[in-house]
Symmetry: C2
Subunit: 448 residues, 2 copies
Amino acid sequence: MNESLLEQLEAVLASKKYADAAQMVKELNPADAAALMDELDPGKMPLLFRLLPKEFAAELFAYMEPEAQETLISAFSDRELDEVLDDLFLDDAVDMIEEMPANVVKRILRHVDPDTRKMINQVLNYPKDSAGSIMTMEYVDLKRSMTVEQAFERIRRTGVEKETIYTCYVTDSRRKLEGIITVKDLLLAPKDAVIRDIMETNVKYVTTHTDQEEVAAMLSHYDFLALPVVDAEECLVGIVTVDDAIDVLQEEATEDIEKMAAISPSDKPYMRTGVFSTWKKRVPWLLILMISATFTSSIISSYEGALAASVVLTNFIPMLMDTGGNSGSQSSITIIRSLSLGEIRYADVPRILLKESSVALLCGGTLAVCSFVKLMLVDRVAVGVAAVVCLTLAVVVLVANLVGSTLPILAKRLGFDPTVMASPFITTIVDAVALVIYFNIAKLLLGI
Amino acid sequence: MNESLLEQLEAVLASKKYADAAQMVKELNPADAAALMDELDPGKMPLLFRLLPKEFAAELFAYMEPEAQETLISAFSDRELDEVLDDLFLDDAVDMIEEMPANVVKRILRHVDPDTRKMINQVLNYPKDSAGSIMTMEYVDLKRSMTVEQAFERIRRTGVEKETIYTCYVTDSRRKLEGIITVKDLLLAPKDAVIRDIMETNVKYVTTHTDQEEVAAMLSHYDFLALPVVDAEECLVGIVTVDDAIDVLQEEATEDIEKMAAISPSDKPYMRTGVFSTWKKRVPWLLILMISATFTSSIISSYEGALAASVVLTNFIPMLMDTGGNSGSQSSITIIRSLSLGEIRYADVPRILLKESSVALLCGGTLAVCSFVKLMLVDRVAVGVAAVVCLTLAVVVLVANLVGSTLPILAKRLGFDPTVMASPFITTIVDAVALVIYFNIAKLLLGI
């Protein structure tokens, strides 16, 4: 978002030059214009919106934030609402309706035509995060008996309102999907060729209940621009386009990152989530982790004798715990991301364990050597204590990497979400293990 | 990847029924076929590849892993190499060349025609992660004086080899970009309309040196299928298509996640990164963090007196440090992700601090109350000790959230990568702060 442009626009509006402001806005790309309009004073924005060319205004509307859309809808006359709704793509309309309060939804549904209302209700009924909930029903459908020329005629006649015209779907009289054909294929084929002979019949599709993450992964894997969605009877009900797939991939990455930081994922951007709901998403995890961490207290108190015998050992507890936690996070987060990108299979587990052990020995060895030098030269501790700390370091890193790489895979195998096995949980587990290792090595080497 | 299909295919190959195997492979989508071929025995795979229809084989080749591509190139006769290279899109060819050893690159460059060689060398010369390095030069260019009919003729004549035909680029005699027009616009316009009158002149473009992440963000923001790339003289040199943008977004999310876990980002998937290079990416961060963590040792030893007076305080050190670290990570990771999605501006900082403080007071309060109940009823510690621990909890969570939310924004403001300010660094800082707070509250309340 261009902040200086926003300031300029606000200045123009402040001096009540609405026509000039409209001129500024309509020269922008609709997505950029929407970002500006979102930031304007809700008292002035609807006035400005009315001065924009109708088609531009409708496109801009689809890109706006729900708050600004709601402001506009409340300001709209019935005729204005009709005009905007008429030009909105079905999936954008559904996205908007999902964010509106009930009374606004009612008003919107009263204003769309009965067919659209039926389609909107259908999409709204699909489970959250399913292909059905993100698809659009506005695709180009062709019949197998059409010639290329007839197909182009149909595209010309119906294409304006379609989300994409570049992939066309060939269906039979019962809407069963028979094949797809791209506009590129149509352009490169002779005009009298028949669709049936040139269409692609090996069609990749998803069902209305396929998870949106899988849909996005398929679009990305096959480099498609759109993917057809069929219902339980294998009839075509909609398509998911690549621009929606990008949004899904971004959302899912955010969700994974949030879960890795022990936060329940949020649907809304940070600035639009309230204090109370942020608290609700964070506190359960903090509580669970805090209670798990109290195990470390019991471990420490059960080794009080050893600690009393060699008080200096206390000083290295935080460093050992932190290093173990960091090392375990490195492994677990690498594995979790590879799992979510589909790079790892169960058959790879032995290779993963071998690799993580080797990396752990190298890393742990490096840390132990560096630590030993520092402990002897800088901290000047007894050689026995230095040996205990460094040996613990090496063992803890090895255990941390094995725990960090195994638990996410195990979680996935058992049907849980592997992201939960990220840093915070791994850290808690590794902390406890690190203390037990530390005190036992100390008892062994120092004879306490 | 379908594992049972792989087993079937391997069984068919083992019984030397190559024609049957080829039949199985060519019924698949090229992307799926490539994933299968990647896993086959390198001794048999080239034989099977030769039995596939030429066009299908060339498309499949582009989807294969570099290792399998190298196996094939070594097995290819000169004529076979020519055929595959002829059908490869320029950006796929460049991707492949970047992964090949020098002798293979030489052989490839000897086999492409001089024009393609020049283009490949040009793309290879752009900085890593720039628009230039991921663009393709295979786009459809039109002239402003053409009619719609002439434009379609040109698309039909040159379109087969283009990466996308759906957005066409209007350039002048010096290749300067004058406008764009989509095939949809062309289809919906009258045949005798002139491009100049119907093209979009408000064109979004990037330069060859624009960072690939910005390119991908623009494609996603504007819902474009392709974005033109111009050189310093504003001449069109290539386009970046949406499928490449998706790959970039996925790569960048992986990079962010790796950096958040204190790992130097890697170009290769996990399973293809060697032990030694994994070590090199992880150990510097572990070392830096370990050395930072030793500050906590100095803090503990400087409060030895307080600890000796009340030994039980030691038991709660890990729990307090962990909770502070977890809480700080929640804030920092939320802010880092919002920064990278462009949801936060500097002007939002006061609102962010207010929000994080409120959330921290709620979270810290909840944790303190729960902790107090547990300490009194389960652990049965003295009420003074319980008060110290719980008050520390509340203060630490507040400090952790403020540190966690401020540092990433500060890092970005100073031109550093905010992702480095993720969990591990925040944890290290918060650990030290938590200890100082803990011991001072203990001194104050317990009078030690």
